[in-house]
Symmetry: D2
Subunit: 363 residues, 4 copies
């Protein structure tokens, strides 16, 4: 009976990453193979597709062969969560538009793959009465409630690969190289990529740096006969001085920045004070792209299966996460709006310091 | 003062793997950078070097540039732990030979990188009064006391990469492909590589298979219009019938095996019963080799730093491990002789089944 | 006008390889973008699809996103070229079956991607009056008339990667490792992969080996303090003794081989005579699989464009090849049935010998 | 007899690349294995080491295990060839300094690995009477006299890999992505990386672009339903207008550029005129780094062996090159100061156009 068919909406939201397809495949394979009659409706370009009814009915074969493919077959966008509370250009309430599509299509639930902003919107929709299962997507690894997000380790591989390449050129030319890694608010990606590729100095938002300490670390390497230094800098790395400012003061100060990014500023100061040649490399968007690494494919497949499990059992309002190797279901309201930061006192940071890595501080 | 120099012995034992050098680098960088006066003595080819005094005094630069290099700069061997209790060819007691070298060189402690057999010997030496810090090396991930061993994720990458390559050829020719993955006693590597690369059937020692269920799984794919099936088989995969035998009966049965390995036996039966072309690929030793993946490099670096931390604080008799993301120190006596198996009831296996993966059983 | 539509058949034949999709994409993009009205008919599983009319009308989007994907979206098979002259199981003449489908569909020409056997059949069809454009597919690089075939360099990458991985384990354990590389009749793949990965000994069909020379080369390394040796052996490597036999004598001798493959035989002899531990690794089908390397993607794209160019200009009866960096069109009759062998006197072999690589000979 | 020892100087000059070590290993293995008594003197940091006598006597083991390692074990610098004719800071003539070291050390010849500038200096030294063998190093592939330079294909792999990664993110977000590839004067790297990774538009110095044609190509894709476009732009890409200026006029115009690089300028114009979101990625120095690809390792090993062959036979004044698959020796005076450009009428460009790739022109 047609009536027995359960219709599941699905969308990918926010910046893309390597494991969106692998995760959706996990959900789909588990639903289609459950022996129950599921239909998956894929919305295009994230919440935008949900608002304006841009969707297609997915076929099982649409999810075949995408385990190793980066990007998202559904497309994604950063809309509209930054302006969620403002009406759209036609004056419509965005949440109402989404609810309308959801109801019109007779969806039983929505599967949402997204990062911080997307989880917030997911929670909002959940509070509005929609059935939601969400999945923790982000190369930033900054979602509260899960030890790891999918996309993170794949991005670590890309970023570490960039530093590996830079390593040989830095060594050969005896230069200081700064590699700017994605991460405006948190430093997970920079920390892991930096340790993985033997960076000498790692600067992350959670540990404001002292430029004197950075320069000292470079000079210490020079004095010990090393020809070069590698510095992994998060996009959001911040100096002690700037970290002490109020939000307003900081905004004011950064109105007309003297450098295109924090890396150039740091590089300029190092070159000025050590006389050594400094180069900056910014891999940028390539950190989100390419084929997911096997570690991430396992994680994504498990996440996808676990999301299907929730759906099969009609348990809604959760984000799927992982903790200590086991899948966990975290209430959406606990996740929304919270960031998971690198703890400067953590085991990981402590070991990095033992290895001789400087975080740009004097302690 | 020369007297203040602390001499640390180091050796790598058992089958090689991708992160031995990265781990030793972690220990060395942390010791040399500690501000204390450490000297590292490297023994050649594992415990053999310790028995017969084959060693070299390491220089800090010996550990430079090896973070991404597979293998071990010290060499390794599987001797002598299989015959630890028998005298050597000259009639000497092996443990006594090791103790003698240790004392003659005035070592403060021994850093041992090894898997199961090696940890057992490490514990034996610890019980004999030597100061030991050990590190969990194995692509098998079967060491008790740590969630993960170094080498494991790198081997997963290699094995998953092999299956990825096989995937395109299986698809194009419409064949059944069996890939035999390392693991005589445990199935971690097969399980992770299989899930990572979208294997349809996974056979591991911990879950004895029923050949009827395997054939049914292949036929189910054929009936659903899939042209091919991929089967990841652990070296130690075992049928229900064989698993029911006593050790003695099994040994007797396997005296003159009809097939070179379990994969060929399974392949033969599938081809016989489905008529479909079956091919077997055995990547073998390449699973231990090549450059470690970034994930493993982070893990190894942390392990190395943590081992150095124990040494700096003169805390001996431990294997360094990781649990829930944090470093743990596990008493050697708790580790020795215990294997960590895949739990058939675990979250991971459960999710794999949700994904439609058959473990060759009818449940 | 419908009448103006030009219908082009396409098929992939023989063992699959990494660049079949990339090459077909090249043909398709160039045809569809030519401003003329082309329709591409894809036959399934090689000539079999042509014989039995298994085909689908391709859409432009079928060729999107496949540049980096291994395998073939059309499927392939080794049928029927080995038994081309025998009737099929229903007693039908195979060539007649193919001609019938060709005519029934109103094809203007056939694009055939294949290796040696497939080119022979392509020529046969051309002589029968069909319009043919063929493309040189093979990881063996043994097609006459083109400096390089697509698939070759990708297979070199895979095979060299296997030897790279083996390198670290050989070094760490001090063993002799034999890696058996695909190539029954020609040694291109073994030669290039061997030189690329620093093999010490390379054995190929074109240069019959003397086991005494092989053993001597291993011992020379041992005597010079190297702990290990790597031997790259082509599947079709042959000893001087066997090379001197007639075809009949050789067949007789190999009726009940003592070893599963030539590598095991060579390995056995080395271990027997040097006492050193020898291991054999056979990567097998993975050499055909995985993503094509960028070099091959360029070659394939160029080949595809050049094939389209021939079609657009209605020039038939050619295989597209490359010579000295430029595309060439080689008459099919010149290609069919000819193999391109490694010349033992070539620049490449000479340089390999200068590098100290032994080919298992005493000269 | 000491007298019989032949002393060979070696240096790497200019920007580093992936195959410097592999090439030096090729020279060294061939010399050491020749049965003659060679000593290799390695100069540090290029010609600088030769000027000031910074060198070390190399041991055979220094060249072991470096086949797959990027960078250069000798270090390199861009000095002094840009200011070859000016005296150094102490007022000394640079050529004289080099000749003095050469003679003082009793060198028989110098092996020079370098690109354009370095070959020019090599020729200068040759004209001054020094014995020179040079090797064609550059990721730019712009050296006259050789079909291919070492480093080029490895850089193609890196650059194509970057575009591959960008591809998935461009697709998912429906953006125009510009990837800026190294190459100030020539477009080989951009052309090959662009074709290899399916770029839609390729802009190189040899084919000045018309911004209207670029915009039209983007719009054509949009109109045909493609969500995204990928543009590979060489650092030295130039507009038709700028290409028409005199050197002086161009210099004047570029004094205070409105954009950090050509990519940003092009991106700005596309965004302005199409309204589509445009992003720029500049992989930069990573294109020179990392492990060489197997293709390049074969080429480098052959080049190295051929250079050794020249030395063994005391034939000096040549750069080693490759032509039509065979090694060639090109007189240094023919190489010096000449660049090899992409021919807009070449087979390669023609095929790229057939594939639908726009070069930013209306023809």
């Amino acid at each position: 009976m047609e009536n027995d068919m359960r219709k599941i909406g699905m969308l990918t939201s926010g910046g893309d990453c390597q494991c969106l397809n692998a995760t959706m495949r996990g959900v789909a394979k588990s639903l289609y193979g459950s022996g129950k009659d599921f239909q998956i409706i894929g919305f295009e370009d994230g919440y935008k597709g949900l608002m304006y009814g841009d969707y297609r009915v997915m076929r099982p074969e649409d999810f075949s062969g995408i385990l190793t493919e980066g990007g998202t077959i559904l497309g994604t966008s950063r809309q509209p969560f930054k302006l969620m509370n403002e009406p759209d250009s036609d004056g419509n309430n965005k949440v109402e538009l989404m609810k309308k599509t959801y109801k019109k299509l007779g969806l039983e639930c929505l599967v949402i793959l997204g990062g911080n902003g997307s989880q917030k919107t997911a929670n909002l929709l959940s509070e509005e009465g929609l059935n939601i299962v969400s999945l923790p997507k982000t190369i930033d690894n900054d979602l509260w409630g899960t030890e790891e997000t999918f996309g993170f380790q794949s991005a670590v591989e890309v970023a570490a690969g960039v530093i590996d390449n830079i390593h040989t050129t830095a060594y050969s030319h005896g230069r200081v190289f700064i590699v700017e890694i994605m991460g405006h608010k948190v430093g997970w990606l920079t920390l892991y990529a930096g340790v993985a590729s033997g960076a000498d100095i790692i600067l992350i938002p959670e540990i404001p740096y002292d430029i004197d300490a950075v320069v000292e670390a470079v000079e210490k390497r020079n004095n010990s006969g090393k020809r070069f230094s590698i510095i992994a800098v998060a996009e959001g790395a911040i100096s002690k001085e700037d970290a002490a400012l109020s939000k307003k003061e900081l905004k004011e100060k950064r109105k007309a920045p003297a450098f295109p990014s924090v890396s150039y500023e740091i590089g300029h100061k190092i070159q000025e004070r050590t006389g050594q040649e400094v180069r900056v490399t910014i891999p940028g968007h390539m950190q989100r792209g390419g084929s997911p690494c096997p570690y991430d494919r396992v994680l994504s497949s498990r996440f996808g299966a676990a999301a299907a499990d929730l759906i099969i059992n009609r348990r809604y309002g959760y984000m799927v996460g992982i903790n200590n190797g086991d899948i966990v279901n975290v209430p959406l309201k606990d996740v929304a709006g919270k960031l998971k930061f690198v703890d400067p006192q953590s085991s990981m940071v402590r070991e990095a310091k033992l290895l001789g890595i400087s975080f740009g501080t004097f302690d």
